[in-house]
Amino acid sequence: MAILVYAEHDNASLKKATLNTITAAKQIGDEVHVLVAGSGNQAVAAEAAKAEGVSKVLVADNAVYEHQMAENIALLVADIAGSYSHILAPATTTGKNFMPRVAALLDVSMISDITAVIDAQTFERPIYAGNATATVKTTEDKIVLTVRTTGFDAASAEGGSATIETVTSVQESGKASFVNEEMAKSDRPELTSASIVVSGGRALANGENFTKYIEPLADKLGAAIGASRAAVDAGYVPNDMQVGQTGKIVAPDLYIAAGISGAIQHLAGMKDSKVIVAINNDPDSPIASVADYFLEADLFTALPELTSKI
């Protein structure tokens, strides 16, 4: 049977998380279909059809799917689940929101946030904030999974030529409706897919210092900006910049942690980064134990120096 991948998108373009999820699906089986549910999303479907390894794209284009409300999306996915052995979605807030609903509608257990495929029934996933790795086996008839995107390379966005098919099924729960959204505007690369991330913590002391010390360095490196929970809770930066167990999981080539002590919950979100740099005035802070390069310095002098010399 084929494998269904749910596409992450904003009705205008396909998000890279979908390509990582396609890679995970290819490790399970050969025939991969992608579902693009949204409104006015035909361009996204065309993009998905070009992704390497995809044989069919299903498009559900209806106003009820515009904001990807879990109540409606789950009904749609459960409705077409019959012909699939596995259903995968990226472990983004969208995927985390509706996939457990799909599993419950199908009366099957689900495996969250997989980081490796062992075989078609066996997967690895982190537990206890990434302090242990569990190998989980499922014997469900339908296997419902969310995929930690940093655990899999992105499939090529070019080279595929999938057929596009329209899904006419319209599912509306009537229990929930969209009111509004406030999205943080940024020209920087997206945090979860950036190759360099510069993060600030409580030691930045205020939001202005993020602008003054972190932003210029990120601009110079073409990096995304992240933050510790302490910096978010103190109001220095918006919550969607939080890296950690309860925020975003990142695994860039270079992660620069400035003024972050490195609590277990923060490390859970970044310790798979290829190279970790910590700039901190406390050599005993836990971040020192995971940093490849530790610079013991006052960040208010070290950051401008680093920015000017890079």
């Binding site: 904001h67 879990a70 109540e71 789950a74 807030t93 969208t94 985390k96 929101n97 457990p100 609903r101 419950a104 509608l105 257990s109 689900m110 946030d113 066996t122 537990i127 206890y128 904030a129 242990a132 790795t133 569990a134 190998t135 989980v136 086996k137 499922t138 014997t139 469900e140 729960s173 229990k175 929930a176 969209f178 009111v179 959204e181 406030e182 999205m183 979860t192 360099i196 490196l221 929970r229 809770d233 919550n239 969607d240 167990q245 309860t246 975003k248 080539d253 270079l254 277990i264 919950q265 310790k271 190279v275 970790i276 134990s289 940093a291 390069y293 530790f294 610079l295 680093l306 890079i310």
Partner: protein, 249 residues
């Protein structure tokens, strides 16, 4: 209106976990256990809704070993009215937990069901969504703001790009994010009073739920260790290492 709050007994969030040598799981002997931090936020939100006159009664449920009654008592001390312990020594997977919670929510006719967005041990982030699906009701996951207006609730959710607000018809399931509120500390008189509050003991069989799952954890291992790094003496040395050794800039 009635609220149902689900709490889980988990290893305290500050504890550095140790994986057992036989790879069967994480060593929990003599480790400090607490209410899952997200569930504590759910209890706090229910208590605030009661203080605001929206909710009349808060029922707190925990599914797990006998000792989970400590977490129920802790929730009662924070302001919940009565507790239900569904005792089982089996590993509680989200689907089975959701089925039990559905039975209780329907028996008690609760209007608002509050859960944490995820337990910090299994990191599943599934139970609330599964419960809402089984009940056929709306869900407000990763909530950072909850406003009840008549027979609807507006929930502001933390999503990847920022915030999203949804309107749900009651009854509805809400799962809490860290920024929803700052849980209070239980005062000693309230801890004493909580000992006298009603706590019913049940088993999964009372709700016709079989705890066996088709999912099984085969082994648990520690994550790959990062090799120890080095201390650099200056910004210049750091840049040199990043350029010439790590080759990341």
């Amino acid at each position: 209106m009635k609220a149902l709050v689900a709490v889980k007994r988990v290893i305290d969030y500050n504890v550095k976990v140790r994986v057992k040598a036989d790879q069967s799981g994480v060593d929990l002997t003599n480790t400090k256990m607490s209410i899952n931090p997200f569930d504590e936020i759910a209890v706090e939100e229910a208590v605030r809704l009661k203080e605001a006159g929206v909710i009349d009664e808060i029922i707190v449920v925990s599914i797990g070993p006998k000792e989970s009654q400590e977490q129920i008592r802790a929730a009662l001390a924070l302001g919940a009215d009565r507790g239900v312990l569904v005792q089982t020594d089996a590993k509680a997977y989200p689907l089975q937990v959701a089925k039990i919670l559905k039975s209780i929510a329907e028996q008690e006719a609760t209007d608002i069901i509050l859960l944490g967005k995820q337990a910090i041990d299994d990191d599943n982030n599934q139970t609330g969504q599964m419960l809402a699906a089984l009940m056929g009701i709306g869900q407000g996951t990763f909530a950072s703001e909850v406003k009840v207006e008549g027979d609807k609730v507006n929930v502001t959710r933390e999503v990847d790009g920022g915030l999203q607000t949804v309107a749900l018809t009651l009854p509805a399931v809400i799962t809490t994010d860290l920024r929803l509120n700052e849980p209070r500390y239980a005062k000693l008189p309230n801890i004493m009073k909580a000992k006298k509050k009603q706590l019913d003991e049940k088993t999964p069989a009372d709700f016709g739920v079989d705890m066996t799952s088709k999912q099984e954890i085969i082994k648990v291992v520690p994550p790959a260790e990062r090799k120890a790094g080095i201390k650099v003496a200056s910004v210049d040395e750091l840049i040199d290492k990043l350029r010439n050794e790590a080759k990341v800039i």
